[in-house]
Amino acid sequence: MHLGALSKLRVVEYGAQYAGSYCSRLLADAGADVVKVETYDGDHARFRGPFPDHIENTDWSGLHLYLNANKRSVSLDLSENNDASLFSKLLVESDVLVLNYSVAVLDRLRLRRDHLKEINPKLIVTAITPFGLTGPYSNYVGDDLIAISAGGFAYASPGIPDMVSDPDQEPPLRANENIGEYLAGIQAATATMAALIKRRFTGEGCEIDVSYQEAVAMVMTWDISHASYVEPKNRSPYVFGAMPNAYLPCKDGYVVMAAFLGHQWNKVVEMMGRPDWSQLEIFADPGERARNWDALEPLIMEWTLQYTGDEIAKKARSEGVPCFPAYTVAQMVESEHVIERDYLWSFDGPDGQVFKLPGFPIRMQGTPWNIRRLAPKLGQHNKEVITEWLGHSSEEKNLTGKEYE
């Protein structure tokens, strides 16, 4: 097996939220040797679940398994002198330090570049915070909901072709996953790679300041480009300027359908058994169909409600009309496409069950990402890492915390 593009890279991660964990996971999958430094309580993801049979188990939390695969765990209490000194020694041996605490904590623990460059001038310090290290709101606290809201993603959702029915009553919307945290993790990993490439020329480390708010706003580029050129669209019931580009109820759920081009529309009315509609003036072109969508939508729904999502989608696609049913997670996981591409990553659970998690969104053919180890138990690698990185024999190490297996 190829060792990965980052196989000689040493990373220390220390954080209290999920973005830092995801950032270093994205480096670990590419081969980096990542040491996750946890407090003696353990990373929060260990307590988040979901758990097998819904029974709390800090080694088998689904989110922990996802965020911390390929890492080794060392437990330290940085308020204790011995542990703080071990932490500093690990940093001397590291290329990258990924941090995910508030600015106040970073300052208090002296985990800022100004201090850390005395320990290791080549160290790249990647600090991920809700609002960044500078600016009027840099001391603001936040989690995923705050990031999704502050970065404009909540307000933009639901987005076309779905729509808000009552803009005064229906709030901006977040998905039931920590997407803002993961976006900050991706951007932090990207910034870290850019800094590593630059370090080849300069030989110097740096401090990277990643903001959750900006990580979310950065991917709202479509909406920002609209705001930059025209007033933003408001959230009132709104249709795309060309129809049907729609989200429609069907017998067993919903389908999305894009049939705004003339030839697509003609196919749709044929499928509906109303070919004569292609002659109607009020539905004559994409713009007319958008203007008269209130009249058209119920007519199309009469048709879609007679069939299942799969039936409609199959029929539509055979006529060259892009269409797809809204899948449940189960349908996605069990789909032929996902299975044939071997996207989900399978591993054995505590009682031999087979669990699956999302696999690698980047498929690098020359230096493939790979899973070398499951997420660690808390402090599982205390001895191993200290011996390997610092060359101490295990007797010399002097951790204040309790011993783990």
């Binding site: 009027p136 989690d143 502050a150 307000y155 998905a175 580029t221 989200y247 899948y327 969104p361 690098m364």
Partner: protein
Amino acid sequence: MNRLPLEGIRVVDFGQIIAIPFAAQILGWLGAEVILVESSQHMTNRALPPFADGVVGVNRSAACNLMHSNKLSLVLNLHDPDGVELARKVISISDVVLENFATGTIDRLGLGYEEARKLKPDIIYLSLGAFGRSGPMKDFVGFHSVINAFSGLAAATGYPEGHPRILGGIFPDPLSGSYSILGILQALYHREVYGEGQYIEVAMTEALTAMMPESVAEYTMNGRDAERVGNRDKEKAPHNIYRCKGDQKWVAISVSLDSQWGSFCVAAGKPEWASDLRFIDAGQRLANQDVLDSLIEGWTLNYEPYKITEILQHVGVPSFPALDSLELLKDRHLIDRGFIAWTDHPETGWRPIDNVAWKIDGKRPVEYPRAPLLGEHNLYVLEELLGFSKSKIQRLVRSETLV
């Protein structure tokens, strides 16, 4: 040392619409020379509204000008054999190729990875598809709502009594573009040491599914499908987006610790809520969210979102307005941090543009030349990069190649 990380790297951008244009733009911001290969015969985001001042024009589209900043425009017709030959020459002097045509298109043009690596043995070549380049659905047309619907993310978005919802922001595009950038940087890092390029594949559906580990784990561990919970969370309460004073103004509030709840009640001037047994700990607050949320909205309705944020953040309670895109451009924090930059353009004037989500040693590590006019850099590419003679260029101009 004031050097951009990707100085000296040349990128060929065959990107369509958003995902790859977005990725290539950021590689450009990081210092790469990005050659956007486009054709007036087949325009994607140059033809998309909105246009500056509502006037349609190939150099006036917001999507184009804010997703191609810092690129060079080379117009050539890939339906013309000479155009393909020219593209091959550009690949042979480049380091990175990016494409997101429909599956199979770039191979039929003779510009796929296997051809590209013959032209440039250490080329890094990234191919992005809606459903990826293999599997039974590889040829499906994947507009963003289809990606939301297939990945299962729509199923985890919305309200318990409602239906799956589609997220905004054409999210699958910039998300898969972001993963693409990371892959390219890792490949460049590897190439620097080992001298080898490689092929990278990204599927938009897989990028979206990577956002939903908890839903996938819950299904594969316990057989339960994703739950739609609106803006709520299984661990935290209050955790929602509340109406405020003003027209469609909203604020997000998230409380995880009991101590934060105590602070919230004092700051909101509702000390009686702190001792209310229905809200006494996280378990109680989760169990009584309906009444909790309606009480909180009764309070937030009296203030503007930024005012609520100021009151709550002052006592360490996570809160922020749910900003729309225009408010993002005006947010004083984002402006102070230099996240909002401005670019000038000969046809559209000064326009605000977003930035990368990070600073390095206190500075934005990017440069912002404007987006190119259609075909603006044909001469530079042909003459200076490829060393074509004037007469050869004249011949190409007269043929159907450079259109």
